[in-house]
């Protein structure tokens, strides 16, 4: 087809660029295979050139042999560029520069039209494909991070000898940390944000479909950088990679730094894309008071990610130049400041917690009305809670630095702002328990995950107030108590919520129901293991066990043994849950388009969801969550005293 105009849905379109050859052009030949191939070729090539250029006597500013450092860095950069090139990430702009802009047919090809399963291993722009790809990537990173967690707990459970060398153990804790942070950041916003949000707001795709695919494949490139770092010594400094300790690490540190630099780009792109989509592409009639709470959650998370990640990226770029070119941003010998690094890092580090928590909380609130068959309790409070968290999220970072001696006077205001954040978080808890209140419980897996989430979040939240308090933090900072606390928040609330969210949307994403029995067994096994692991970790922290240690005094043995047993139970539970996902995906019960009887837009689409989601764009005419019947108690009350009772709910 080489006509200059096309007809879309019976409407004559403005002039299209002429079509050269088959739709898709060179994109027809590019997929994950060519991406990997080009990436490896570029990595090896760049590494080889740098190896040839680096004299064997050269050293880095920290007097390490420069060869491995420079070769690895060049290899990583080569990998990222080559991989993205081989995936076809730059085809759009390249063709535009060459005067052969993408045509409508090209765009449809890139969206995966008529490609079948092949579209899942290509640079596909369809948001549903990207969502599924994100889900797979998330599971892979979780598997990687989870395996490392098992190794860590093995080391800590074996209290009578060292299982791993300190080098390997330290790289385990750092890589586990950052892998899980990345996985949790994308766990909800990636799969559900991409797959569900456009459908939920009644749009045909994201605002920038190609950027959508770009963010996903940048993430893949970053993840490979991270995993590769394990093979060159790893990053041995905890995920925070405090300087100047970071400069002592083996070349694996570069893998971490490049991962963060690339991941921050990926996050920025994804955030802008989601925010633009939500702001501009909501269906007619979907006013802000009719927008589902999950959309608010994703928007808030994207907004926080957008301002927080640049700090992290800067900190790692500066640390990278310190390491490779001898700049002294963080080197106190030459007037650099270690506190500068800590500030930059935690300016990301704390908003990042809410980047993780808010989407899971929001997807929880989104699914609760469906399974309790009643509206969300205090929709406005839920929005207020999210807005409050976003507003305060940027003002609390220095509570990670109470004990650094950086500026003791600022501990006062940061304690204030940190404890204030319990109020908007409390709003979200209120909305959750208010929605539980008197609801008919439909005992399905997604709702069961919500019980787990609220339970864990209460424990994580309450232990958080000890840590937010400077005097108590003077004891707890840097101890196992902190580790237990943030696992209760990020894993107990974040991951269990994400499991619920994925179980909820599984039928829409895969066309099959997530196996109720196996999934529940996995979920509750993991839940029990979780309480054992991190409950006893609180005890270890209270006893005074520092975090990130390889060996410890005998008094901590018992709590660590329990913790390790619990960790294996979590591992077992997660494997069962993973098995439920895999078996259900391949051979589960086929789902109808709307198996949960939900009233929101994303469930009104056909199954499988057609390329452009909606044949005719929907118009929203009512508030979300119109479930339930008028409260019989209210009617009784009205009848009793003749008062005019405000009619609420379905009308």
């Amino acid at each position: 087809m080489s006509t200059a105009t096309t007809t879309v849905r019976g409407v004559e379109q403005v002039t299209q660029p002429p079509q050269h050859g088959k739709p898709g052009g060179i994109m027809r030949h590019l997929n994950l295979g060519t991406g990997l191939l080009t990436g490896i070729v570029f990595a090896v090539g760049a590494g080889w050139i740098v190896a040839a250029l680096t004299p064997s006597s050269a050293t880095t500013p920290t007097f390490a042999p420069a060869g491995p450092e420079y070769v690895y860095l060049a290899g990583l950069i080569g990998w990222v560029i080559g991989f993205m090139l081989g995936m076809g990430a730059f085809i759009g702009p390249l063709r535009w520069m060459m005067g052969r802009d993408l045509t409508h047919d090209d765009a449809e090809y890139m969206a995966g039209k008529d490609l079948g399963v092949k579209r899942y291993i290509k640079f596909t722009t369809d948001h549903k494909v990207v969502g599924v790809q994100y889900l797979v990537v998330t599971l892979v990173i979780f598997g990687f991070g989870g395996t490392l967690a098992m190794l860590i707990r093995t080391e800590l459970g074996v209290t009578w000898s060292e299982v791993f060398s300190p080098e390997f153990y330290n790289s385990l804790i750092g890589t586990h940390g950052i892998a899980m942070i990345i996985a949790m950041i994308i766990a909800v916003s990636g799969p559900l944000g991409n797959f569900i949000v456009p459908m939920m707001i009644g749009a045909r795709d994201m605002a920038y479909p190609r950027l959508n695919a770009l963010s996903l494949w940048l993430l893949v490139a970053a993840a490979v950088c991270l995993i590769s770092s394990m093979f060159v010594g790893g990053m041995q400094d905890g995920w925070s990679a405090y300087q100047p300790l970071g400069s002592q690490a083996p070349p694996g540190m570069l893998g971490y730094q490049l991962t963060i630099i690339v991941f921050a780009i990926s996050t920025a792109i994804a955030s802008v894309n989601l925010m633009t989509t939500i702001l501009t592409m909501r269906a007619k009639g979907m006013t802000w008071s009719r927008t589902p709470i999950f959309v608010y959650g994703i928007f808030a998370s994207s907004l926080m990610g957008l301002y927080a990640f640049p700090f992290y990226q800067y900190s790692q770029i500066l640390a990278l130049t310190d390491r490779v070119w001898g700049t002294v941003f963080f080197n106190p010998l030459y007037g650099g400041s270690v506190w500068l690094y800590e500030n930059l890092f935690w300016l990301l580090g704390h908003p990042e917690v809410y980047v993780i928590i808010i989407p899971t909380a929001a997807v929880t609130l989104e699914l609760m009305p469906v399974f309790l068959r009643k509206p969300l309790f205090s929709y406005n409070f839920a929005i207020a809670g999210i807005v409050g968290v976003v507003a305060l999220s940027g003002l609390v970072w220095a509570h990670h630095m109470y004990m650094t001696g950086w500026a003791p006077a600022v501990n006062y205001p940061f304690m204030l702002s940190t404890e204030m954040i319990s109020i908007p978080v409390g709003f979200l808890v209120l909305v959750a328990i208010g929605t539980f209140w008197r609801g008919t419980v439909w005992t399905r897996l997604p709702l069961m995950a919500v019980y787990a989430l609220v339970f864990n979040k209460m424990i994580g939240g309450v232990t958080g107030i000890y840590l937010s308090d400077v005097p108590a933090d003077q004891y707890f900072h840097g101890s196992m108590f902190v580790v237990a606390h943030f696992h209760y928040m990020l894993m107990g609330a974040g991951l269990f919520g994400a499991m619920g969210g994925i179980a909820f949307y599984f039928p829409k994403m895969t066309g099959r129901i997530l196996d109720e029995r196996i999934g529940s067994i996995g979920l509750w096994t993991a839940f029990v293991g979780f309480q054992l692991t991190f409950g006893s970790m609180f005890v270890a922290g209270l006893q005074g066990m520092p975090r990130r240690v390889l060996q410890f005094d005998e008094q901590f043995n018992i709590s660590n043994w329990i913790s390790t047993i619990g960790a294996y139970i979590i591992g077992l539970g997660m494997l069962i849950f993973l098995a439920a996902i895999i078996f259900s995906w391949t051979s589960g019960v086929r789902a109808s388009g709307n198996p949960w009887g939900s009233k929101s837009l994303e469930w009104q689409t056909a199954q499988p969801v057609p390329l452009e989601n909606f044949e005719v764009l929907p118009v929203v005419t009512e508030r979300p969550y119109n479930y339930g019947v008028p409260d019989p108690y209210d009617e009784e009350l009205a009848a009793e005293d003749g008062d005019r009772v405000e009619k609420v709910g379905a009308s």
Partner: protein, 285 residues
């Protein structure tokens, strides 16, 4: 209702009781409301032992050995007590939702039978007010305690300018991979790798590091501060209990971070002075 037996909850007519009061009273009579309240109390009492269990775990190796640590433990105790009611209430709702309110299972979408409650002004206001008051209480408590602890640890004012500063013992703490060194400048620069402290006498710590960031944590004394390369951080404490306690590094500092720990010996004044003499520390202060 018969005329002879007015229902016990019927308002007397005419009534000037405000309708909202009436609704609250009516609400309290509902069985689930009573159950949730009962559950809240039961769960609250079940959680109550935590207040002491937390402290018991903290006190295993002899804490509190200073007023600072005492303040920390009081804070933990108070925060636990304050958070129990709200935690108990949330757990009570979860439990009652699992056990008390109606259940449907099976794959069929259940009928819409739940009450369409989109909000509750009294409930939401109550929650906001209570949670804000709790947060305010935590903040005020924290600020007061922080001021207290800062005073007890001599803030960042140099030793000479402190009230009674001349009497205080100064210890220069240096972290390096992976040992602690304690220098006593008032005692001819006597150095030790075990921290000897006199009981009931103010001690100032000038903390620094030779290489990477460490964290000087005198566990049972409740002292914790980073040891930063290129900077000196200051803190202090008055140990009030003789005994053997622990110093641990609480900031990942490289390969042997786990082994960067040593002992604190808090000695009576006489024992401390004789230790100083025997170790060649010259004059005693």
């Amino acid at each position: 209702m018969t005329a002879t037996m007015p229902p016990p909850d019927a308002p007397e007519a005419p009534t000037n009781r405000p309708p909202s009061m009436h609704r609250v009273r009516n609400w309290i009579r509902r069985p689930y409301a009573r159950w949730v309240m009962v559950l809240t109390v039961v769960i609250g009492f079940l959680l109550l032992p935590l207040c002491w269990l937390l402290l018991a775990a903290m006190n295993q190796t002899g804490a509190p050995a200073s007023e600072i640590m005492q303040d920390i433990e009081t804070t933990v105790f108070v925060f636990t007590i304050v958070s129990i009611p709200i935690t108990a209430f949330v757990f009570a709702v979860l439990v009652y939702s699992l056990l008390g309110w109606k259940h449907v299972s099976g794959d069929e979408v259940p009928a819409d039978e739940s009450p369409a409650i989109r909000g509750n002004v009294i409930g939401a206001t109550l929650w906001t007010v209570v949670s804000s008051l709790l947060a305010m209480f935590l903040v005020v408590w924290g600020l007061v305690e922080l001021a207290q602890i800062t005073a007890n640890s001599y803030g960042t004012i140099s030793a000479d300018e402190q009230p009674g500063g001349k009497d205080a013992l100064i210890v220069n703490v240096t972290g390096q991979q992976w040992v602690w060194t304690f220098e006593y400048p008032q005692h001819d620069g006597l150095t030790s790798d075990v921290l000897y402290l006199p009981k009931d006498r103010a001690v100032y710590f000038n903390v620094t590091s030779k290489d990477v960031i460490h964290n000087f944590w005198a566990v049972e004394l409740g002292v914790k501060i980073d040891a930063n390369p290129g900077a000196i951080t200051q803190t202090g404490v008055t140990p009030n209990k003789a005994g053997t306690f622990n110093v641990r590094c609480a900031e990942l500092c490289g390969l042997h971070h786990a082994y960067m720990e040593t002992q604190i010996q808090v000695l009576e004044k006489d024992s401390f002075d004789s230790w100083v003499r025997e170790s060649g520390g010259g004059r005693t202060s």
